[in-house]
């Protein structure tokens, strides 16, 4: 019921472990496969590795900044790791293995692609969008460069090729068209985003000494927007990535057009235990809603997204759905620009004539006591 077909590959469910240091080497890959995910993407493999810096992560409880420059293992070590995987054997129920690779030129990338096809991976993911160091996201936002890199790889392998894109494109349809034209089989979006997590204001020192990639829950809305945009530009299968933490997030990506979702930071922080839970919850949700296949769910929210011109001004106003029981909260009062909320004789009241239905108080109220409804005439 959870199985998905994409790029000519059979995925047993829509959950994929994304590229990152947790999928380094045969140990990392085996742990990922054991979680039950449908596929695992290796840490980004390069021709000349960078060593692991220390520290290389900074986490503020919400989002993560990493300053990892691809895998610290070199090509030969990776090929040995794959030999080890072959030796240990893959069982029938095992997920697929996708190698994430990147390089500075199309010919260098094609060389890596051929090597890892030979090593026995099931597909390739082109990491053209990493924001670290030289800022490869320039490539992923440039249709011509994306085309050149992708085409060279596609011409040199027979396994499916996915292209990982960045959020930082202001010409999404052009980039997507380039990916399609180059013959790629799928698109992954989004990569981490160029960030500075913060500064220690007492010392003036940035938390990490260089720009890094931002990931985790805070970037999910950005990922969702990009996936929806891509889904509206192409029929190619999409792999949504960015802040996936639970089954709802997986569904959000699918409903906006993705075939599957990739999970990364959530695994780093919480471990592989979240995967079986995710899959069980997805299963339960499908049954509850009487879906027999994810094909019925894919893209189902896209036609509920409108362009600005299509939106009509609706006369919605905020209403209390039950008495406010807090005496010293007043958060809704503070956030109302229309000054429509106030305490009248000690009771929280919303003036429906002053209210213009912006919707903010509905989300600010810690008890969820406010709803938006059409103005009573």
């Amino acid at each position: 019921m959870l199985s998905v077909e994409a790029m000519g590959l059979k995925l047993k469910n829509p959950v994929i472990i994304s590229a990152g240091p947790w999928t380094r080497g045969h140990k990392g890959i085996r742990a990922a496969l054991n979680s039950g995910a449908a596929a695992v993407v290796t840490e980004t493999i390069v021709a000349e590795p960078y060593p692991d810096l220390s520290p290389r992560y900074a986490y503020d409880g919400r989002g993560l900044q990493n300053i990892r420059m691809y895998s610290a293992l070199d090509m030969e070590e990776w090929i040995d790791e794959f030999k080890q995987i072959k030796k240990e054997g893959r069982s029938a129920g095992d997920g697929l293995i996708i190698a994430n690779i990147t390089a500075g030129t199309p010919s260098e990338l094609a060389y890596l692609a051929r090597k890892f096809e030979k090593a026995g991976v099931d597909a390739l993911e082109l990491g053209l969008a990493c924001p670290m160091g030289e800022g490869m996201e320039i490539v992923a936002a440039n249709p011509n460069k994306t085309y050149a890199f992708t085409k060279e790889v596609v011409a040199n392998v027979s396994i499916p090729v996915m292209v990982k894109l960045t959020q930082s494109m202001n010409n999404l349809p052009e980039v997507v068209a380039a990916v399609e034209k180059a013959g790629a089989s799928g698109i992954t979006a989004i990569n981490t985003m160029r960030c500075i997590l913060g500064i220690n204001v007492d010392t003036g020192t940035p938390i990490l000494p260089t720009y890094g990639g931002y990931s985790g829950s805070p970037i999910r809305p950005l990922g969702l927007a990009t996936v929806a945009g891509i889904a509206q530009s192409t029929e190619l299968p999409i792999f949504g990535i960015g802040g996936v933490e639970n089954y709802k997030n997986v569904l959000e990506y699918i409903m906006l057009g993705a075939s599957a979702a990739e999970v990364g930071t959530a695994i780093l922080i919480n471990g592989y235990g979240i995967i079986p839970e995710m899959l069980a919850n997805l299963d339960r949700w499908m049954k509850k809603h009487h879906y027999s296949s994810l094909d019925e769910v894919r893209g189902s929210s896209l036609d509920k997204l409108y362009s600005f011109e299509e939106l009509k001004v609706e006369p919605q106003r905020a209403y209390l759905n039950s008495e406010c029981s807090r005496e010293d909260c007043g958060k809704c009062v503070v956030c109302c620009l229309d000054e429509a909320i106030s305490f009248v004789d000690g009771r929280l009241t919303i003036d429906e004539d002053k209210c213009t239905g912006c919707g903010l108080c509905r989300d600010i109220c810690p008890d969820k006591k406010i709803t938006l409804k059409w103005k009573k005439i």
């Binding site: 021709a47 000349e48 070199d74 090509m75 030969e76 500075g104 030129t105 199309p106 010919s107 260098e108 060389y111 160091g133 030289e134 800022g135 490869m136 320039i138």
Partner: protein, 342 residues
């Protein structure tokens, strides 16, 4: 027809015949001539495949570079050795000094000694010479392109585009009278750098002025002398591009001692990203060539050939371009910190 039949006919042992083919220097001329004429009479052609299997036991590859003291060359060597060592091979390092005669000598000697493969950097050989090598059954990979090279296994950097980027950057910083301090070798690289310079000028709407192009020895002294000539000729310049960091350092030295302010009066960009460039004052803007990676990839290509199976098409060649990076530091007039433009 096999080696035993030749031995019988010649009245010698199989080992002697084998020695004639594999280690001719160990056999007397008389014996050698005798056996060779027997082979000719019998129309004996050695089994190249069998010979190759025999010769892979040398476990050695040759790396020809043109200057042991050149830091870039040694980075290539480091990359090559890294891969070779993993494969259980040793590297024989040879210094050709851009001398075609020396290069040919080394190649011949190494092949005679049954080296398993060769990496030729900035080769002086022409494509036809290389094809002859191929016919002899030699395994080789080239580092660095030249105009005659076609359909060879090669790893290279695009010096034209790299230079164009650097010159374009100077133009965006407002420099319009950009002098060149060019070395003499390797010629193909110098030609490409000059072409990149001209292309950037054209794009920037600046006329090419021959008077701004100086040639000198590729060394610190060479750069020093070129800068002296430039000052002496009183050529009006607001920037200098040196084809190597070595020359750039010499240029820097001379200009500073002549009281010229860098980058305020003259901006300076070099090539090669020598580590010392980040330590001089002002820090040297440069183009870094991925030399270590060139070594890694060249060795990888070579072992692909050496280990190649019958499935691989004979004619299939691999050409890999590696990306250089413009490293922006104070010497070019950029006020900001070290940045890398990809």
């Amino acid at each position: 027809m096999n080696i035993k039949a030749v031995a019988d006919k010649a009245g010698v042992s199989v080992a002697t015949v084998s020695r004639v083919m594999n280690h001719p220097e160990l056999v007397t001329e008389e014996t050698r001539e005798h056996i060779l004429s027997v082979m000719k009479k019998m129309n004996y052609t050695p089994n190249w495949f069998a010979r190759n299997i025999q010769s892979t036991r040398t476990g050695m590859i040759g790396l020809l570079i043109h200057d042991f003291l050149d830091a870039s060359n040694m980075e290539i060597a480091k990359g090559v050795e890294s891969i070779a060592h993993q494969k259980g091979y040793h590297v024989m390092l040879c210094n050709t000094e851009f001398n075609p005669v020396k290069e040919k000598e080394y190649i011949d000697t190494l092949l005679e000694r049954k080296i398993d493969g060769l990496i030729l950097t900035s080769t002086t050989l022409k494509n036809s010479d290389l094809d002859k090598l191929k016919k002899q059954g030699a395994n080789y990979v080239l580092v660095g392109k030249n105009k005659t090279i076609n359909r060879q296994n090669i790893v290279y950097t695009d010096y034209k585009t790299a230079t164009e980027e650097a010159i374009t950057y100077l133009i965006t910083l407002g420099r319009t009278r950009i002098g060149l301090a060019l070395g003499e070798y390797p010629k193909p690289e110098i030609e490409e750098k000059l072409e990149g310079y001209k292309r950037a000028l054209k794009e920037g709407g600046i006329l090419f002025d021959e008077k701004l192009v100086y040639h000198g020895e590729n060394s610190i002294e060479g750069g020093y002398l070129v800068a002296s000539k430039m000052l002496d000729d009183r050529v009006d310049m607001d920037a200098i591009f040196a084809s190597t960091d070595q020359m750039a350092l010499g240029v820097l030295d001379k200009l500073k001692s002549a009281g010229v302010h860098i980058p305020e009066d003259i901006a300076l960009i070099g090539f090669d990203d020598l580590r010392i460039g980040a330590l001089v004052e002002p820090k040297l803007t440069t183009i870094s060539k991925p030399m270590y990676r060139m070594g890694l990839m060249a060795a990888r290509l070579l072992f692909d050939i050496i280990e190649g199976s019958e499935e691989d098409e004979e004619d299939e060649v691999q050409e890999i371009a590696l990306q250089s990076k413009l490293k922006i530091r104070k010497s070019c007039g950029n006020k900001g910190r070290l940045k890398e433009i990809w």
